[in-house]
Subunit: 208 residues, 4 copies
DNA sequence: TATGAATGAGGGTTCATTCAT
DNA sequence: TATGAATGAACCCTCATTCAT
């Protein structure tokens, strides 16, 4: 090859580095308040370099979202297809795995970002809804269905249940990128998720 | 009199009208992406008039937040002091009243706004945390305490429980101002809150 | 009126002032090399003010062209409809009037500008062609026709003749805004146009 | 040898290829609007390679002009020194040869380029004026002088005559690189130049 | 010699803010 | 009090230029 390895490797890594820096800033300040120069600086390059990889601020934003949602999806689908146990443990595993693989990583900021910017990027919101939310809901729907059929869970309004299952983990991630960095409140994700699951599974379970 | 009543009334109402318009825009697009001209236009005045009532965009923002959180606080405190029934029904009443009086009104957008802008306005976030979140949590803490003491509720980790109680109503409001306006998903607040309460109260309740 | 006269008058005059300054710069340096800040400064306003009257640099350019071609057209049409004499004197009058009313004024730079920027603004070039060139040619065609029918002029290839009539006055104007300002050559428009007409009319005339 | 002939030839030809590509773009879009990357691409090299041959965009521009004007000069001088016939036929030959050897080739775009960029490159304009225009005018002056002395031409203002002789061929070339490529108007150079010469020589000739 | 990734100055454009009326 | 024309700082984006390979 005519270009050196280190150079090649750098070129390969740049987009990911830039997207990571961009995610940081977008999540912390929002799209409009993020200065591309800050993103570039954080990634260790100059402003112009960004444009070698992303055509515009908006395209960078979209790339950040797209790249950010893939891991979550794969995790979920994989888990569901592999799991063998009962619905209770599956639900538990889903929530805890999501936290471990997504919520607790930088990608955990994407829900906050999408919420904040949905009004400015309707088509990205649409995309996020279809690719992420619809799939996650469908995944949870199948789990609930399985639990109800197995007599583990009470039959409750399915869609509402899904929302109630999702809300606490989502709020955990959102909080992490909004008030917590400002020194407001502390989080104990372990305890929090366990309490959520405890309450949830107890709440779902059939009373004699 | 040289100034008519209607004009007087108008002048009196201006700040509130401007804040309402500003809230609309801030919630929908965020602080940075909101143009003061749009706010002024929606309020039916010119751009310059805004500055007769608010010193800057930032001060307008802070005023919007401050005015927006007062009703919620009053509601909660009133309810707690007046309520006579058991903890279950008090919890239920709190959630449903909050939705009726705050969540379902334009003020319901404030949580989304605070979440989105906390990174850009740390001192507002701090203020919001102390004035709203701390109080609401303390309110819920008292309710839970009462329920546990009365043997209605199981003793669970208090702080986590509070988070879990808050998350679904909050998400309901946030959703309402993020993805739902983009045509993503539909909401049935009644069913949703009832399912939440059903699951929650069942989850909290002591098993024999 | 609520706004003062002087302010109103200023507002009214601004677009013309800005276009005059812009014409100056566009003609001298070309579209791309013209800095809007320079245009604004020359017009005595700030950069931002330009955008109160013209949506973009390109729209300013188009406005400059459009406003710039109107006077020339009116002149020509008026002259033709009013003239009573023979074709020779009409031709002479057309050329000299064009110089007096257009070529020697700042508008005389527009042909150079159009020539330089045609490749960058095809649709403006099209517009200029249809609105200016086609009309001028048609005007000259009628004059030549009249002269031939009256036996004043020899029958020559009409379209080529028109080009040959137009070229010297055009070059006179173009020169004025290209090499002459750089200190290259001097112009004596009177003599030049007279020589042109002398040669032309002699060249057109029928030999016995 | 380590370098093949074809590579050697390539290296030798590079500057000319680059200048040809640059001429194309400069003529079509102007200096400022021309991107060096486009020039390099059209010449089949990378952007950086340009800088191996030309120190800057401006130096490339100057080289293009300098290389572009040499052939025209040689043509003219050669023709004058060789010609034996009368002034009429010499004038005719000059115009037609210029068109054949310069005007109709890519070099025909240089007049348009010089006109457009004179304001941005005064020293290039100066150079062009001295090296090209002054010489061409002096050439034509000698021809006219010869014709007047031989009784072929009427005595008219010499400098104006030169301008009138030059204008139509120049406009022919300029048109070719401005409005014609935008689909405005068609050119028939043969007819056009013949009409020009016909009118011109008739106009110059002495009446009995 | 040739490449193309990287740079950063420059300029178009937006919009919060001011102020004369 | 209300207006809206004017301002200019800020920021996105382009592209001539550099340089490590």
């Amino acid at each position: 090859m005519s270009t050196s390895d280190s150079r090649q490797r750098r070129k390969q890594a740049r987009p990911a580095e830039l997207m990571a820096a961009a995610l940081d800033h977008f999540v912390q300040r929002g799209f409009a308040a993020t200065r591309l120069e800050d993103v570039a600086t954080q990634a260790g390059v100059s402003k112009g370099t960004l444009y070698l990889y992303f055509g515009s601020k908006e395209m960078l934003f979209k790339a950040v979202i797209q790249q950010g949602i893939l891991p979550a999806l794969e995790e979920g689908e994989t888990l569901l297809s592999q799991h063998q146990g009962d619905a209770r443990s599956l639900l538990q595993a889903l929530v805890l795995r999501w936290w471990a693989m997504v919520g607790s990583t930088p990608l955990g900021g994407i829900p906050k970002l999408m919420i904040a910017e949905a009004g400015n990027f309707p088509e990205v919101a649409q995309y996020y809804y279809e690719q992420v939310i619809v799939r996650i809901r469908s995944l949870l729907r199948r789990v609930l269905q399985r639990g109800i059929e197995a007599g583990e869970f009470r039959p409750l309004d399915m869609e509402s249940c899904i929302d109630v299952i999702l809300a606490p983990p989502l709020m955990l991630a959102i909080w992490r990128y909004s008030l917590v960095p400002q020194g407001c409140g502390k989080q104990d994700p372990e305890t929090y998720l366990n309490t959520h699951l405890e309450l949830l599974l107890n709440g779902l379970s059939v009373r004699e």
